[in-house]
Assembly symmetry: C2
Homo-oligomer: 415 residues x 2
């Protein structure tokens, strides 16, 4: 392949164009776009896959649909023959927050890091081919750096450049303290790209600064600069804010089929196509068909949403589970087995609660022993599933439906 | 000594007061002054000397009178029984400037660092007792820090705190780049105080920020905070700017007795007492006598300056050399062996020049061969010393007097 004749060049060029069209679709920014094409051509000519990197926070292993946007893009890269590099930022996790100020940056033990990594592998396996992905821990290279190496790393950027990052700038301007070590988190992420000779790094649009740091550091270390590809942030079920676990507006990929299906059906209509585009593996042609159907009225939005819900359940569980969840949803929510008007209870307490406490709190019983008896008699259901044990603790979920006997219903509303 | 009775306490208190008076004399700031007394009392009670630190730049080993201000203060500490810690900042020197921008921060080899350290020991030995001083290299502890240690170090301060340093703030405000690694130089210096459990750190007033960083870091690492003692900066021979080699307004302690004597005699009268106070070992009483004499006219300023000059030559060479330099100065400059009016030549070229080029440049000869012949005939003198070899390169010094034959004189004036 070293000597390329004109014929091969034309074929390579055409294939690069095809890949470029697929890969740039749905992305927020590709920086710089020209370099992506150059890298694709080089990769095809040399028959050498590109290295596509995604950095992972080792402390938050619960994957939700918002995360899968970038995973779907990684999957496209895999399908086109490229290599995915998953970098678990365990080095940062092992340091924790040396100031002790941040609860979310608690120091993680080796075991915890490994356990979290394992759950990533399990969950990511629903979207990308984990057999082909390379999983690395950045402590492998970062823990070997000594003070001199760190000084040399720090010398590659300036204080002003770091203060350009939105959040740093805001904190500096408003007089909020920025601990000096915080400047090292982007440098670590960037150095990962140096260590791994990454060709393309993916991330959400909120990661742009950190991703660009990879380019800057690779150049400073004499390497070819990576292409930065940002993906849009997906709004959560509220249709307003970025999907996140802490806001409760998420669809977790480890939730039950019925929960995933039900949550998906609650997505605002106007967001549906964005979910399809960013978070499913549907092809460009399938997406175009869907859009056309919705536009000309041949496809009812509810039916489109059912397809979305089934796609998610299929991805995260199985096709069979998707069928079952659809049936359940139709029986319970569409065929009127639940009353059309269910009273709501605004839940503001702990998310984890003893079932008997829950039943008393929402006013179905005046004492725990009453509630206990009813559970023992098989008269209490949560989301249509009979509660077996009056000692159960349950985790409150959005729109959870509590049923006592045949007629008493309550929908739990969580802020 | 563990159980102190009232009598001992009173004696200790009195001795601490005595030491405090000596030590604070001439200093610009003692931060905080109360802590210095507490440390002195503790030291006296426990019969445990205090650790007094001075940090040294390993790249500039030429000591001048400006540097001796802090050395004289160290000597006072030694005379009172305390321990001097000289820390050679070889770690910084070995890193050099990773950006490659700074000429003065060239990377130093191990050999060069050691050679420079040796010259420090030689030169400092003229002021302090090097047998009792502890000389350390900060690479000993700094080179053992790994990335995690560095992160923990960086976490002890904030970006805003670093940008409070005058020069950083000015550069940031004016848009001049500050490489991120530059923030580590104060941290290294401060960490030295952690590693050495320093009780008191000395430095010029321009070092205040870095010295305070030592306090901050010691506290963050759970140690007792050092006292910071700053000494005033000594103006150079021009009476205007801080004495420094690059400005040429210095008296180097390795210069010849005649040069030191002559330069000293050119100090502006109004600066003389400051030199006495800060850069000589004269006692408070001797200084008071001098000042009184100058005030009431019983002491002529020229005679006071001769005493200053002899004091310096005695310190840096010997008492005998001081006598000889005085005689030379009187013969040459005061007894009229030189004409009272000597023409001046403004020297703006390189400071190092071939003697024959110098003679042609100042217009004494029209060709180098003429100049060469005159040297060979023993007719050329520099500062009254005959030039032996026409191949000599000489270093231009302020007020150097070039003499050819009996009647041609030229004073070299350097900006």
């Amino acid at each position: 392949m070293e000597k390329l004749n004109h014929h091969v060049n034309a074929a390579v060029e055409k294939e690069a164009e095809r890949q470029l069209a697929i890969l740039t679709r749905g992305s927020a920014e590709v920086i710089p776009e020209g370099d992506l094409k150059t890298k694709l051509i080089h990769s095809l000519s040399m028959e050498k896959p590109l290295n596509i990197k995604l950095g992972l926070d080792p402390s938050a292993p619960d994957v939700h649909v918002g995360h899968t946007v970038v995973l779907q893009k990684l999957r496209q890269f895999q399908d086109l023959g490229h290599t995915v590099q998953l970098v678990i930022g365990d080095f940062t996790g092992k340091i924790g927050d040396p100031t002790g100020k941040s609860e979310t940056r608690k120091q993680l033990s080796d075991e915890k890091v490994k356990a979290n990594a394992k759950t990533y592998v399990e969950q990511f396996g629903k979207i990308i081919d984990m057999e082909k992905a390379i999983v690395t821990f950045n402590s492998t290279w970062l823990s070997t750096l000594n003070f001199t190496d760190v000084i040399n790393l720090a010398a590659k950027t300036t204080v002003a450049r770091m203060l350009e990052r939105d959040d740093f700038e805001k904190r500096y301007q408003s007089g909020q303290a920025i601990s000096l070590h915080e400047f090292f988190y982007p440098l670590m992420q960037g150095y990962d790209s140096v260590a791994l000779k990454t060709d393309i790094e993916l991330g959400g649009t909120d990661q742009k600064f950190n991703l660009l740091m990879g380019r800057q550091l690779q150049e400073a270390y004499g390497l070819e600069k990576q292409v930065v590809m940002t993906m849009p942030l997906l709004e959560g079920l509220d249709g307003q804010k970025k999907m996140s676990k802490s806001l409760g507006n998420y669809i977790g990929i480890r939730e039950t089929p019925n929960t995933i299906f039900g949550k998906c059906m609650s997505i605002p209509d106007e967001l549906m196509m964005k979910y399809f585009q960013l978070a499913t593996p549907l092809s460009h042609e399938e997406l175009a068909d869907l859009e056309r159907g919705l536009m000309n009225g041949s496809l009812h939005p509810r039916d489109a949403k059912v397809r979305l819900a089934k796609t998610f359940v299929t991805l995260f569980h199985s096709a069979q589970a998707a069928e079952e969840a659809e049936t359940y949803f139709q029986n319970v929510f569409q065929k009127g087995q639940l009353p059309s008007e269910i009273p709501e209870f605004q839940w503001e307490n702990d998310r984890e609660v003893a079932i008997v406490d829950l039943l008393v709190t929402i006013g179905f019983f005046t004492s725990k022993s009453e509630a206990r008896r009813m559970i023992q008699n098989g008269g209490v259901r949560i989301n249509e599933v009979k509660v077996q044990d009056p000692k159960d603790d349950i985790v409150i979920e959005r729109d959870m439906i509590i049923q006592v006997g045949k007629r008493k219903f309550m929908r739990i509303v969580v802020k």
